[in-house]
């Protein structure tokens, strides 16, 4: 795609980004407190956390924009910040919102950014800028001044800047800020494409449904500390799971199950039923209900949604 060679390319490492005991203190405020995190190559890591939980500070330290107070970071196998220059050409990032000049058009802004991209051959710049603009759906507004862009268009332009060159790692800090539903969907599509092409993606977001739909891994931060990290599926399974039983005989079902020592509540879903947590295993509960004469229409395991897991983790139960 670009006129470049991989002869001296960085070796592909198993870990795209790594934080070891990263800590950042601003004055008396501890922004990030001893975070150990590994982002496997090829994964899509969703970084979650309430406002002020240290997501952006962690990202800035991983990218070498901020020096950590203690600890070490590694980006595509290169030490940050000393050797980060060898990794950054392969990294596209949208950090702390899009940054562009208001008096230039979107296209001119991107050309200026492209001129600084080491992996972009000079003759490729106009085409690469055009492709990036089309990819984020800004082709029609490319020659308007950035000053007149809407919040969502600015965000799209920032995304285009991260996609100027095929990247090994793309870091998106709150990419869906200010985007309309179509824009949010576009971001999800782009993340999917990057993932399919083998790029690693780190995306911080407060839209949990988005993260659940696009991510393979999750890291949850609170007050500067990492409180959970791992594969999305594994984390959800480890969360409070339950058995959902659809039945018209809610009352007798509750009595039967509670009698066996399980916790059960009426299901708040569309169909009448109960949600069972704890107690005997699922087959025993179904057998118990049948023996008690409860009409079981459906029984299925329920994984908690990411939203519930996130609430459990961050609200300290």
């Amino acid at each position: 795609m670009t006129a470049l060679d991989v002869r001296e390319a960085l070796p592909v490492t198993v870990t795209a980004a790594r934080a070891t005991g990263l800590r950042k203190v601003y004055g008396r405020t501890v922004a990030v407190e001893g975070i150990d995190l590994e982002v496997p190559t090829g994964s899509v890591l969703g970084m979650l956390g309430p406002n002020g939980s240290g997501k952006t500070t962690l990202i800035r330290m991983l990218l070498g924009l901020t020096r950590p107070t203690a600890g070490a970071a590694e980006l595509l196998g290169a030490r940050v910040p000393d050797a980060v220059a060898s990794a950054l050409p392969h990294v596209g990032a949208l950090v702390e919102g899009p940054g562009f000049h208001p008096f230039l058009s979107g296209r001119e802004n991107l050309r200026r950014a492209a001129a600084a991209e080491p992996l972009l051959a000079s003759e490729r710049i106009p085409a690469a800028v055009g492709e990036a603009l089309d990819r984020v759906g800004l082709g029609h507004a490319a020659d308007r001044r950035y000053r007149g862009y809407s919040l969502g268009m600015k965000q799209r332009l920032g995304l285009a800047g991260a996609l100027l060159v095929p990247r090994r790692l793309v870091v998106l800090d709150e990419p869906t800020n200010g985007l309309d539903p179509a824009g949010t969907r576009d971001v999800r599509t782009i993340i999917g494409e990057l993932h399919a092409a083998g790029s690693t993606v780190i995306v911080s977001s407060h839209l949990l449904a988005e993260v659940e739909a696009t991510c393979t891994h999750v890291a949850v931060l609170q007050s500067g500390s990492l409180i959970a990290a791992g594969e999305l599926g594994g984390l959800l399974d480890a969360g409070t799971s339950g058995l959902v039983v659809t039945t018209p005989d809610v009352e007798s079902a509750l009595v039967a199950v509670r009698g066996a020592g399980a916790t059960a509540v009426p299901d708040t879903g569309a169909e009448p039923g109960i949600v069972v947590t704890g107690g005997p295993a699922a087959p025993e509960i179904v057998a118990l209900l049948v023996r008690a004469g409860v009409a079981v229409h459906e029984a299925r395991r329920r994984r908690p949604r990411l939203e519930e897991l996130f609430a459990q983790l961050t609200e300290g139960q």
Partner: protein, 287 residues
């Protein structure tokens, strides 16, 4: 939305992988950015008015007063030198400070400094590119005043033989006169480089461009006051502004280079200190 992205850029027979964009491309992009900025163009346009206004003023007054501007009367080639000297006291340093303010503090305020560092442009190289951009602005401003000054001097003030009457009373031919103008213009750029280097240093400390303008303006005024206090004579050699009247020396015959030389040397010291501090600070700056 249908472009697929390979993980690693591959095309056989290309260049070995780079970790920095070509320097020429960066410098060209910087200069293009500087001259696309509306305020740069407006400033340069206003600078073009300086020699024109002085020329009109001289013609209207129609008599040679004392000093450099008085010498312009009937002596066209003195106009660009007088204009440069007048502009150097405040307007030119202000324009250079503005460029330096936009170069680092302004980029930080827009969030574009982060983009450049992530590209990546190394921090050392960034200072070099920014210093180059500021120098280009100083050069363009001095050039505008010099060229418009020569033209306005020829057209408005005029001189039958296109000659320059020096302060020593002798006359120089057109070619020698132009050479004197060029010498002063280059000397002015040197002084502006000193202002620009210090302004860049301030710019690297803040993300508010106004702080840079205020510092440079305040510094110039403070230097002027310090230079005017007789008890502080010993401070003279350290003040950048104390050599700024040396431009008129180019109008003596034979030319007196001592003032121009020593002030240029002083300017180079300011450049070294200013850029040195900027580099030191940018290595540590959070973006």
């Amino acid at each position: 939305m249908t472009i697929t992205t390979p993980t690693t850029p591959t095309t056989p027979g290309g260049l070995p992988e780079r970790t920095a964009a070509p320097l020429g491309r960066l410098l060209a992009a910087e200069v293009r950015w500087v001259f696309r900025r509306p305020r740069t163009l407006i400033t340069l346009g206003l600078f073009a008015l300086i020699p024109i206004l002085i020329a009109i003023g001289v013609v209207v007054a129609d008599e040679g007063g004392p000093g450099l501007i008085g010498a312009v009367a009937g002596n066209g080639l003195v106009l660009p030198i007088a204009s440069l000297t007048v502009a150097l006291t405040l307007l030119l340093p202000l324009a250079v400070a503005m460029a330096a303010a936009d170069a680092i503090a302004g980029e930080a305020a827009h969030g574009t400094l982060r983009g450049l560092l992530l590209a990546p442009v190394s921090r050392l190289r960034l200072v070099g590119v920014k210093a180059f951009g500021v120098l280009v602005v100083a050069l363009a401003a001095a050039l505008v005043i010099a060229v418009i000054g020569v033209i306005a001097g020829m057209v408005v003030v005029g001189d039958a033989d296109g000659q320059m009457v020096t302060l020593s009373g002798t006359t120089l031919g057109f070619g020698a006169g132009i050479a004197r103008v060029a010498l002063v213009a280059i000397w002015v750029v040197g002084q502006l480089a000193a202002v620009g280097a210090v302004a860049l240093a301030v710019s690297s400390l803040t993300e508010h461009p106004l702080v840079v303008l205020a510092s440079v303006l305040g510094g110039l005024i403070a230097f002027g006051v310090l230079g005017a206090i007789p008890a502080l004579d010993w401070l003279g050699p350290w003040l950048l502004t104390s050599g700024w009247s040396a431009g008129a020396d180019a109008l003596r015959d034979p030319i007196d280079l001592s003032g121009l030389g020593s002030s240029t040397l002083r300017a180079l010291c300011y450049v070294a200190i200013g850029l040195g501090f900027t580099v030191w600070r940018m290595q540590r700056r959070d973006a």
